[in-house]
């Protein structure tokens, strides 16, 4: 299955990004490189501790980096410093927890009007109603407070708010992880539809590979602060090149029973340990194909086929 989007110019680029949290000794991002093109959705997937949220927050400028270059729409990440407002709202963010990202003391109307007011845009009731229509919410929620809405409804409000200033880039941090499966599906479909109609580029972070498969044109797999594989989603999932990608995909519980046999063949042992030696591949302690070279030399993200890159000394299928 091919990508059904025309790949446009690069809108966000990250090069060799290193970020260290002040309270931890080990860097949380160790040289991440990826790019997002206009009109596409790049999925970033990984388990806890891989740094995917840190990556997102660095791109929008909430976290400062130690080294590396981030370019957003040609400029630096807007961050929180009072800079140019138009630049700031060209990239927006949707938080994971819809219960925390809306001000509990404001009505939905006020929540949606706020970014428009602050940025001097049309914040009339009719515009707010338009926003509600865009995310499939009934107008009756206008005067309600977030506490009266369900998780899925709140997340829709958060999405509407983020899109109200017509940003070019939307960053989503696990936007459906806190929702029930049927509501997840609603929101996932909504995001896909909105991307087609509004035309923004999207960075979608999730720990759930199956959800990523539903939204992302391309996917970046992260492990302990590094990107280990990146490429077109269906290809990466069908023929993973990195052992971690294969193990990750195989660990996802499925509905088709025959895959029960598959998952028992590829099961990785142990847990990720961040306090490994500084050199070598971070995955080697759990990799069934690790060799001496993996102990010593950190693999770099190298191109495989067109658009595909993998950081492994022994990529699968090669």
């Amino acid at each position: 299955m091919t990508t059904d989007v025309a790949v446009g110019p690069t809108i966000v680029s990250v090069e060799d990004l290193h970020v260290r949290y002040r309270s931890r000794v080990e860097p949380t991002l160790k040289g991440v490189t990826l790019s997002l093109a206009a009109g596409e959705t790049l999925g970033v997937v990984g388990e806890s501790g891989c740094g995917k949220s840190t990556l997102l927050r660095s791109i929008i400028g909430l976290i400062s980096s130690d080294s590396g270059v981030i370019k957003v729409l040609g400029g630096r990440p807007p961050g929180l410093s009072d800079g140019d407002l138009n630049e700031r709202v060209a990239i927006q963010f949707v938080h994971q927890d819809p219960f925390a990202s809306l001000n509990p003391r404001m009505s939905i109307r006020q929540i949606l009007q706020a970014p428009l007011r602050v940025n001097g845009r049309d914040h009339s009731t009719s515009r707010i109603r338009e926003l509600l229509d865009m995310v499939g919410l009934s107008h009756s929620v206008l005067e309600s407070h977030p506490a009266h809405l369900s998780g899925g409804q709140r997340q829709r409000v958060a999405i509407a708010r983020a899109l109200s200033t017509k940003p070019k880039v939307l960053l989503l941090d696990e936007p459906v992880s806190a929702l029930d499966v049927s509501v997840q599906a609603q929101v996932v479909n909504l995001i896909n539809d909105l991307q087609k109609s509004q035309g923004f580029s999207c960075l979608f972070v999730s720990h759930d590979l199956a959800v990523i498969a539903q939204v992302a044109h391309r996917v970046a797999v992260m492990y302990l602060g590094r990107v280990v594989e990146i490429g077109e989603t269906s290809q990466v999932l069908r023929e993973p090149a990195h052992p971690y990608t294969m193990a990750l995909a195989a660990s996802v519980p499925r509905l088709r029973r025959e895959s029960k046999g598959e998952s028992s063949q590829v099961r990785i042992i142990g847990e990720p340990s961040a306090n490994v030696m500084a050199t070598g591949c971070p995955f080697r302690s759990r990799c069934w194909m690790a060799t001496n070279r993996c102990d010593v030399e950190t693999p770099l993200l190298d191109p495989l086929a067109s658009g595909r890159k993998v950081a492994c000394h022994h990529p699968l299928g090669r």
């Binding site: 929008i60 909430l62 929180l80 009072d82 407002l85 700031r88 709202v89 927006q92 963010f93 938080h95 927890d97 925390a100 990202s101 809306l102 001000n103 509990p104 003391r105 404001m106 706020a114 970014p115 602050v118 940025n119 958060a158 708010r161 200033t165």
Partner: protein
């Protein structure tokens, strides 16, 4: 229910001059007469009607408490919000200043200040206000610190909400429950403080205060029980209504 207590107090305070049968300063009867039809709460040492006195006292204490509330709210919220939100050196400086005000013993400072500046109601309000704001400022700051980390505050910053707007439209509405509860407790303490000062004679001589009513006839409290009991009851009820209002606000959230 607690709110109605405070409300009653305020109504009495506003309408006291019309409700009171006599001018409380006027000598209208025999001294030290117990409760009777003519003087429902009795008369004091020199024959002034206690009932009128208590009603006017309500007005005085309400004025003082409200005045102090205005000062305390203005200073404490400004200091607490700015300090909590900006952090860093601004926070350090402001909290050191607040500490200075906090450790000073209020009662004695009030006595000294009254001795120096006089005991008019306006001076009293300022003195009590300036010595009472620091505790509330700390509470406001603590609440601000925790709300500041919320996702919705971050979202606001991300769509361009500036410092001023973020503090007053995002954070402030979310800290009102706890801080209001604390405020009412603080005000009831102010009330008691004022009553104590008035009892020892440090109240505004041109206005009747509950503490003054009880204090002016000190020597005769044993025999003329009504002079202590009725003003005392008024003080008690007023303070109680404030603290239970605080409880009710705290419980509602």
């Amino acid at each position: 229910m607690a709110a109605s207590g405070v409300l009653t107090w305020l109504i009495l305070a506003v309408f006291a001059p019309w409700l009171a049968p006599q001018d409380p300063f006027l000598v209208v009867g025999e001294g030290l007469v117990g409760p009777s039809w003519r003087h429902p709460l009795g008369t004091d040492l020199i024959g002034r009607d206690l009932f009128s006195g208590v009603l006017h006292g309500a007005r005085t204490s309400a004025t003082i408490v409200l005045g102090v509330a205005v000062i305390v709210i203005a200073i404490a919220f400004t200091v607490g919000l700015v300090s909590g939100y900006l952090g860093g050196i601004v926070d350090d400086i402001m909290m050191r200043i607040a500490e200075v005000f906090q450790v000073v013993p209020r009662f004695f400072l009030a006595i000294v200040a009254i001795a120096y500046f006089g005991s008019g109601v306006d001076r009293l309000i300022i003195i009590l206000g300036l010595t009472s704001w620091s505790g509330l400022a700390r509470v406001v700051r603590a609440e601000t610190l925790s709300v500041r980390e919320s996702a919705f505050v971050e979202a606001a910053r991300l769509f361009g909400s500036g410092t001023f707007r973020t503090i007053f439209r995002e954070i402030l509405p979310n800290i009102t429950p706890t801080t209001s509860a604390y405020l009412t407790l603080l005000l009831s303490r102010v009330l008691l403080l004022e009553a104590s000062l008035a009892f020892i004679g440090l109240s505004d001589p041109s206005s009747i205060s509950w503490g003054y009513l009880a204090g002016s006839s000190q020597a005769y409290l044993r025999s003329a029980w009504w002079i202590a009991v009725f003003p005392g009851l008024a003080i008690l009820l007023a303070a109680l209504s404030l603290t239970s209002l605080g409880d009710a606000i705290g419980r509602r959230e």
